[in-house]
């Protein structure tokens, strides 16, 4: 299979720059990274067809090897359409994020921060257990006060 060196290098640069941008915290740069990567991948798909040849229409006297492989282009077109849809969706997300939070950055997950900041010591699970752990004593006092309502609890 023949590969076009220029296209190969362009693809490599696009992917490298794309990945670099993707690692940024700013959403717009992430988007630019996505665009670059998807175009890099499209170039890769294009190259899988090999060397350019005749149009894939039946021509008299042409050998099968002389034709150009059309399948990668079909795949490529589909991939372009999909990437276009995704990029516009991400753009909408970024805009919405800007409207809501006035910042163009990936924000922290608050619940994550909360769980991470939680001390190792959980009073409910790790506290010293009092000597009297039976619930029934308390329950008995309760039943005296409240009547039969807690009885259902005990029977379980």
């Amino acid at each position: 299979m023949t590969i076009n060196l220029t296209l190969l290098i362009v693809m490599g640069v696009m992917l490298a720059v794309g990945i670099y941008l993707l690692l940024e915290r700013s959403l717009t740069r992430v988007l630019l990274g996505i665009i670059l990567i998807s175009n890099g991948v499209n170039l890769l798909l294009l190259q899988t067809a090999g060397r350019a040849g005749l149009a894939p229409l039946v021509t008299d006297g042409a050998e099968p090897e002389e034709y150009f492989d059309p399948l990668p282009q079909a795949l490529l077109l589909t991939a372009i359409v999909i990437a276009f849809a995704l990029v516009s969706f991400v753009l909408a997300l970024i805009y919405r994020s800007w409207v809501l939070a006035r910042q163009d950055e990936v924000t922290d997950d608050e619940e994550d921060r909360r769980v991470a900041a939680k001390p190792d010591y959980d009073p409910e699970e790790d506290a010293e257990v009092e000597t009297e752990t039976s619930e029934f004593i308390e329950d008995e006092q309760m039943t005296l006060k409240e009547g039969g309502e807690d009885r259902g609890d005990e029977s379980r």
């Binding site: 999909i82 994020s97 809501l100």
Partner: protein
Amino acid sequence: METNLVEFVPLAVLLPFFGAGFAFAFYRNQSVQKSITLGTLIITVILEIALLTEIWHTGAHAVHLAGWPAPFGISMVIDRFAALMLVVSSIITLAVLLYAVGQGAAEEKNDSGPVSIFYPTYLILVAGVSNAFLAGDLFNMYVGFEIFLTASYVLLTLGGGEQRIRAGVTYVVVSIISSMLFLITIGLIYAATGTVNLADLALRLSELEHGTQLMLHVLLLVAFGIKAAVFPLAFWLPDSYPTAPAPVTAVFAGLLTKVGIYAMIRTETLLFPGERINTALMIVAGLTMIVGILGALAQADIKRMLSFTLISHIGYLVFGLALSSIVGMSATIYYVAHHITIQTTLFLVTGLIERRSGSSNVDRLGGLAKISPVLAILFFIPAMNLAGIPPFSGFVGKLGMMQGGIAENTWITWTLVIASVVTSLLTLMAVARIWARGFWRKGEDAEEPDKLLLSKTLTHARAANKRLLPMNMVAPTAALVAMSVAFTVFAGPLMQFSRAAAYDMYERTPYLDAVLGEERVDGVRDELTEFTEDLLVDLDTGDAGVEDHAPVRTGLEPEDRENLEDTRHSTSGDEGEPVEGGGD
């Protein structure tokens, strides 16, 4: 003229698409939209059940779209595994849709507004998932993935609140990267072999150089691993899933990661069979289980906790498929079906809990068992099922995997068996914590409980149930719980079915015959059959250890002992019946 029912396979994808189109057209009229969506899904479920019954006996079948034969045209292939996944997924989506309709009806007053985008997008999600299950070539699978992923982006960010946008950004970016990886792999595979048809690839990939094969194999697994949320690639999941509305999270948790697993299973069986990277996969599986469940234990929010258990149970599936034996694979197939149901059910129940008590944080819950016993039962059954307590289906699936692991008998499989037992226990601990705090303890013990929980008397609380837990939300949940119980009741036939499916997948000839025609496969048929015979592990020791460990002779000994032994031979193993010393 007799038309074969199986020729209607593409309808499983087309019907939801048409439904989505019509639902979009009626965006002004909620009730029309609702009935179109419901009708479409019901027809799809009926069609797929019919397909399953057909496939149950006949095996794989391929439909070549527009009559172009494989590998030139697009083929849709349905085999036993795909049929099972289709049926389970469409039943799940139908139940979740009913739940969502119920929720919509219940929350109409809250002025969240009717969202005309929900129903059509939901149908597109269903179509994409079915397409990924049925795809006969890699690129069509990629398109299927993109369809349901794009639909899932929309569903996840529904309403566009701050939380959801934040979660959506992470989810979308990570998914796009995994799709790009998938696309790169497709390009490389096409460059190496000149085809994207799965069946054709199955024959051609083995002719490639060893190093090239390994690279393509790992690339595919990484791309699918991100979607399936396998350990080092799973951190996007608990960040993004919990923010979505309950029905959306439920269907995501149940289906989307399983599509990733489905693709991984196809990669491992159809494209790159063999034991090349099994040890690596098992290490990943073990880490997924342990890290996932430890994450779950740290969480206080039920939705996040469940998201982490979802990750950890993906580990089981990877373990099962890494075993590369019929026993392991059949347990995996059974477990996938079981896990889709259970995880969806649990998220739906969490939605109910949130509605009833105004919070899904376990610290703020209490006394739910007393307030609503129905809710308690609905939570208890799937929770125990998730932890794998016998006799529930989770136990049957895990037992099958452990049997496979023990039969393999290497240090890594034993490590994995131990890891899976530990994970099982930790899962029990995680769900027991939800149970103990949310349901068991008294309502007064909760920290800053929502006022929904604090009714003056039990009668008041029960009266509020009617409003907060409407029948049309409880009923779909109950139906799913019933389905999960059915997995236990019909474990025998189901296990037999998944065994047949696993055998088909490793042997590969049914699939290849269906797609490529028998002539092309004939050259390699013997090789493939031989390969499968090697994977058959004989679990049955004949006497289940009775002779060694408990030689009992009684006066009631049946006379024809020989016959009895024979019948036992043919039944055990198929049903995953608990063999003594089975690993727990």
